[in-house]
């Protein structure tokens, strides 16, 4: 418990965490901006074009912002200690080492979880109010129907925080870990999407972006990802993203010279 209190103070006593949290919350504003733009375009379109107009789920676009920010929060929780050398002090006063990682994991998971839920549910309600009954009532479906997908979206945010923490602990370099993280969100899905059939949908199904819809069984045909996994398998893959790099990092941390 003491180590947890220490790590909580570590994360909230630096400005970078506050900035990342602030930028994440701007996701709600981003959602409002996108929804207003879409509503405006819809209103200005000719009446005969309106029935065919489609709108993607705006939360899925917004999601990238808290994902990236909380991923970076996770990275920095580890690499800022390596960059300054503080890690030596940390490992000296907690020589078992793993409690540090456990405490950091708990802290970034909690921050990521709350941030994810606030941003995703916040932008959903803002978008719902802004879009109204436009776009064939895409935002008029009952909240209960939408709930599983919103929860799944939100859960990917703490997954990114843990993934960032794991990458940071493995690479011990801020730049390296952030490059990998950004690659996972943007670059790799783009490459995978352009692979020849059937590899695009096979690999596309295990991309983080594909998992929320696979978990809720809410597959859409227009997705850039694949949708081959069952809800259970997709949940397992999501847990794997969060835990495998982290567990490898703990294993290495206990063995490596600091």
């Amino acid at each position: 418990m003491n180590v947890l209190a220490s790590e909580w103070l570590k994360i909230r006593s630096v400005r970078s965490s506050q900035i990342l949290l602030g930028v994440s919350l701007c996701g709600i504003l981003l959602g409002f901006g996108l929804a207003s733009m879409a509503a405006d375009m819809y209103d200005r379109a000719a009446p005969e074009q309106r029935p065919g107009a489609r709108l993607a789920e705006l939360e899925e676009v917004v999601l990238m912002l808290p994902q990236l920010c909380m991923g970076v929060l996770g990275v920095l929780a580890m690499t800022s200690e390596y960059a300054s050398g503080l890690i030596r002090t940390s490992l000296t006063i907690v020589p078992k080492r793993w409690p540090i990682m456990a405490a950091k994991s708990a802290v970034v998971t909690a921050v990521g979880l709350i941030t994810g839920f606030v941003v995703i549910f916040g932008s959903y309600f803002v978008c719902r109010a802004t879009v109204g009954d436009r776009f064939s009532g895409v935002y008029q479906t009952p909240f209960a129907d939408k709930l599983p997908l919103l929860i799944a979206f939100s859960l990917t945010v703490p997954v990114f925080a843990l993934l960032g923490l794991g990458m940071g602990a493995l690479l011990r370099s801020t730049a390296g870990a952030i490059v990998l993280l950004v690659g996972l969100i943007y670059a790799i899905p783009m490459i995978v999407g352009n692979l020849p059939d059937p590899w695009n949908s096979r690999l596309g199904s295990v991309m983080i972006g594909a998992l929320p819809r696979e978990i809720t069984g809410d597959a859409i045909t227009t997705t850039v990802y694949g949708s081959l996994l069952s809800p259970l398998a997709a949940s397992a893959v999501l847990v794997g993203y969060a835990t495998l790099p982290l567990l490898t990092a703990v294993w290495l941390l206990r063995r490596r010279d600091a």
Partner: protein, 255 residues
């Protein structure tokens, strides 16, 4: 041994650092080579050696940061990594710059204190004791090296440990600070603590240390009291230069 500090309950101190045939190899390089010595309580033990002699590696091995290739480093009879609540047994300052520049001095110490449930009032007391009370809420990034040394010393003393290790704590301090460190080291030893102090400043070491351990190329070159060395040589500096002449890693080629 038993120590009775001011306002503190008497307690037994086993402030001993023992190195037993300690060896550390990095790839093909022997950083520490079959090193054995004991650091006893109640003295300031100076830890000397040329650059690259293995002093910092030895300190890291004692603190369990690096694992020895063979041999043992024991603190209070145990390998460091098996100590419970290590802040109350060992305090160390390895690198004063190893702090997050964006954190305040108070928060930095509080982060360390919390791992052991040490009260925030102890953090305030230590900041006063090292002369940083007025900048306690300022970001450490703006501190001079001397101020960071003071912060590092406060961190080492937080848990009131019996064993203390300082790597070059005098660097960057003004004359006032140098004297402060000297008196602090001596008073910590007088309280019955074990103090291991590494420094390149021979004149300062002659004034501060009682015993000297000299390392060269990872091996033990000499282990003696300052008195013994200054009896055999004109000064501690002469003793050091004579003893390490053969083990200079990065020496100049003459005057």
């Amino acid at each position: 041994m038993v120590r009775c500090g001011q306002g503190l309950a008497c307690r037994t101190l086993y402030g001993v650092i023992e190195l037993k045939r300690l060896t550390k190899r990095y790839g093909g390089t022997l950083a520490v080579d079959d090193l054995s010595f004991t650091v006893l309580p109640g003295h300031v033990t100076g830890f000397l050696g040329p650059n690259g002699a293995g002093k910092s590696t030895t300190l890291r091995l004692i603190l369990g940061l690096d694992a020895p290739s063979s041999g043992q480093a024991l603190v209070n009879g145990q390998p460091y990594r098996s100590l419970s609540r290590p802040m109350h047994q060992v305090g160390a300052l390895l690198d004063a710059g190893a702090v997050h520049g964006g954190r305040s001095a108070h928060n930095h110490l509080l982060c360390l204190a919390r791992t052991h449930g040490i009260a925030p009032s102890r953090v305030t007391t230590m900041l006063q004791q090292v002369g940083l009370a007025e900048v306690a809420r300022k970001q450490v990034g703006g501190f001079s090296l001397g101020m960071k040394q003071r912060l590092g010393i406060a961190a080492a003393l937080l848990g009131d440990p019996g064993v203390l290790m300082f790597d070059e704590p005098v660097n960057g301090l003004d004359p006032d600070g140098v004297r402060w460190i000297r008196e602090l080291m001596r008073s910590l030893a007088a309280e019955g603590r074990t103090v291991l102090l590494s420094s390149h400043l021979m004149s300062e070491m002659a004034l501060t240390a009682d015993r000297i351990v000299i390392l060269g190329k990872g091996r033990l070159v000499a282990e003696a009291t300052v008195q013994e060395l200054t009896a055999r040589y004109p000064s501690l500096e002469d003793a050091y230069l004579a003893l390490t002449a053969k083990s200079l890693e990065y020496g100049s080629t003459g005057p």
